[in-house]
């Protein structure tokens, strides 16, 4: 009767067509042709355009809803508070939230000047580049890989960044299109911040992100655990909303530094809804103190102080 065999792989591999910009196996590739791609065309333009941006940080998590955008806007606001020039590049095209989290009014639009697109300035001294400033609230975009890659190219090569201390790229969930695009197109990434939540289930994909940064040769600054333990406001018993400790375990297993635990709190979510990062609004809170540890690690990694 029927004989069953284990499914070893899915039959979806494509051969090499010398289109490096479009290749899924770019980081593993050892073809000499790849060097040519690195030297000419769009990558050269991007490198020239970003030459006055000192440090480039990517924020990843692999999993959705772990607080990538929250981390990006708070680190940016904290660095700006220290007098740094910071721009947040929102790589989330499907549902960009960074503008709202930074209090950018809904009708604000990205403008284009003589030298290219002009990053939008926010109240917190942080500049922002996001497709949320181009598309309307009800506009649903369906972009497959090709279009997303074009958008990434455009936002790296055609934005007038000028002199910047930090560029912080907020990357959406997943380990494919947007993640690979930015790691491929952003030259000399200074470091990656990885954010996760305490549950065991979330660690698989966070781990995959660490592997991708390794493949791409980007150093990991450290792991941040969000939505960590807090206390019940009624009985003060310790509460682990999701479960506990998996972030620390991941950092030990993968030998990357563990930076901080950000306790879950209604202040985090309301500050994001209101567009005022909590490092600015509640500088004395536990959350802000944890966040400052992250910012210190970033400064240390980048500037050596």
């Amino acid at each position: 009767m029927s004989h069953e065999t284990e499914l070893k792989k899915l039959n979806i591999t494509e051969g090499c067509n010398r289109k490096c910009e479009d290749c899924e196996r770019y980081f593993e590739c050892t073809f000499p042709f790849r060097e040519v791609f690195l030297q000419k065309g769009i990558l050269r333009l991007i490198r020239e355009n970003l030459q006055n941006v000192k440090y480039k940080i990517v924020v990843l998590g692999g999993k959705g809803g772990v607080g990538k955008s929250m981390l990006a806007v708070n680190v940016a606001a904290a660095l700006a508070k220290k007098g740094k020039k910071v721009v947040v590049l929102d790589q989330v095209y499907d549902c960009p939230a960074v503008p709202m989290m930074l209090g950018v009014p809904e009708d604000a639009r990205l403008m284009i000047g003589e030298k290219g697109l002009i990053p939008h300035s926010t109240k917190w001294g942080v500049q922002v580049v996001s497709t949320g400033l181009v598309l309307g609230k009800d506009e649903v975009i369906i972009w497959f890989h090709e279009m997303k890659r074009n958008a990434t190219e455009e936002l790296l090569a055609a934005v007038d960044y000028g002199e910047m201390d930090y560029l912080i790229a907020d990357i959406p969930a997943g380990t494919s299109s947007e993640t690979v695009n930015i790691l491929k197109y952003l030259p000399d990434v200074t470091g990656a911040l990885l954010i996760t939540v305490p549950s065991g289930v979330s660690q698989n994909v966070a781990r995959k992100c660490i592997y991708i940064t390794r493949k791409a040769g980007v150093p990991v600054i450290g792991v941040v655990e969000n939505m960590s333990d807090t206390n019940c406001p009624f009985c003060q018993a310790p509460v682990s909303i999701i479960s506990s400790g998996a972030g620390e375990k991941l950092s030990a297993e993968e030998r990357v530094p563990f930076l901080a635990k950000i306790p879950i709190s209604i202040r985090v979510s309301t500050s994001l809804d209101d567009g005022e990062p909590f490092v600015v609004r509640y500088p004395e809170s536990e959350e802000a103190k944890s966040m400052l540890k992250v910012v210190e690690a970033v400064s240390k990694h980048c500037e050596g102080i």
């Binding site: 009800d138 969930a173 019940c232 309301t270 809804d273």
Partner: protein, 308 residues
């Protein structure tokens, strides 16, 4: 030199029509009648046929990540199964698939190949559920697939799986409104509809709204909105408190004119069951959160879904 600033009207990424409907970003917007031919040819036709004996097909979307789409997919599927229905869960999240873990079969079960195509894995609880997921093929690898390969995988999972006769197919979508969500809505033309999962904050509604609008754009019905992580029930004193301002989901449902299915608070038993790899509605059927899930499943079957 004076800088004359103009508003950016669009990002310059448009591509032209190459008659490859199965690969088109603007499939749902397209007015060309010829696009419907796509369902009659090749893999699309095969997918329609393979899924012909599934009564209800529901997608669980959210737009935003981490709102509990996978958790809701798993518990809703378990709730239907506990009502005696034959249920299949299809994990459409290729990069971060967690469904096998939530069923406790990660690394233990694998997809098999038989004469009728791919044979789904089954749950170990005796609920008769079928599970299809990327990590039942590649348990540990990093998956980096761009659109073309993702579409290939979707095709493989829809057109080449031996589903047999089922009552429910529940598809767990990854975050975003592009590749995976779109592939799926395109490949299942007779979808019953979408359940959108969201979390309470206002900022999360940006994404939930777009996901809901995408379903509408694809001509699929929005079955309702669930507000997940809406409050937390303390395991010690039993009182409920908020760690995100509640009400965002209900407000969105009202705004878009779609049913609000209910709020799901968090509870320590929920987290424990998830990590242990047992759907909590099965493990703790008396838990207040489980009761809500069962209520939602009933509501979907009795009031919202068409009767067959």
């Amino acid at each position: 030199m004076g800088q004359e600033a103009r508003e950016v009207l669009s990002i310059n990424v448009e591509l032209r029509c190459d008659r490859k409907c199965e690969n088109c970003e603007r499939f749902f917007d397209c007015q060309d009648e010829r696009k419907w031919r796509v369902y009659r040819r090749r893999r699309m036709a095969q997918a329609v046929k393979k899924m012909g004996k599934i009564k209800h097909k529901i997608t669980i979307s959210g737009g935003k990540g981490g709102v509990g789409k996978s958790t809701v997919s798993v518990v809703l599927a378990a709730a239907f199964a506990m009502m005696g229905r034959k249920v299949t869960v299809l994990d459409q999240d290729f990069d971060g698939s967690t469904i096998p873990r939530m069923f406790g079969i990660q690394g233990k079960a694998k997809l098999k190949y038989g004469p009728q195509g791919i044979i789904p894995a089954t749950d170990t609880l005796g609920l008769g559920m079928q599970i299809i997921s990327m990590s039942l093929v590649y348990p540990d690898d990093v998956v980096t697939m761009f659109h073309e390969m993702r579409r290939g995988t979707t095709e493989e999972f829809l057109a080449n799986v031996d589903y047999g006769e089922r009552d429910y197919l529940i598809v767990d979508l990854p975050p975003g409104t592009s590749s995976d969500a779109c592939n799926l809505l395109q490949y299942i033309p007779d979808l019953d509809g979408t359940v959108t999962v969201t979390v309470p904050p206002a900022v999360s509604q940006l994404a939930a709204r777009k996901a809901t609008l995408l379903s509408a754009k694809a001509g699929s019905k929005v079955l309702g909105i669930i507000e997940n992580m809406s409050g937390y029930i303390c395991g010690t004193c039993g009182k409920e408190f908020d760690f995100m301002k509640r009400g965002g989901g209900e407000a969105l449902a009202k705004e878009l004119g779609v049913p609000f299915l209910g709020r799901l608070p968090l509870h320590p038993e929920v987290a424990r069951a998830c990590d242990e790899g047992v759907p909590f509605v099965y493990k703790y059927p008396e838990n207040p959160v489980s009761k809500k899930i069962i209520e939602i499943a009933r509501k979907l079957e009795e009031e919202i879904l068409p009767r067959i």
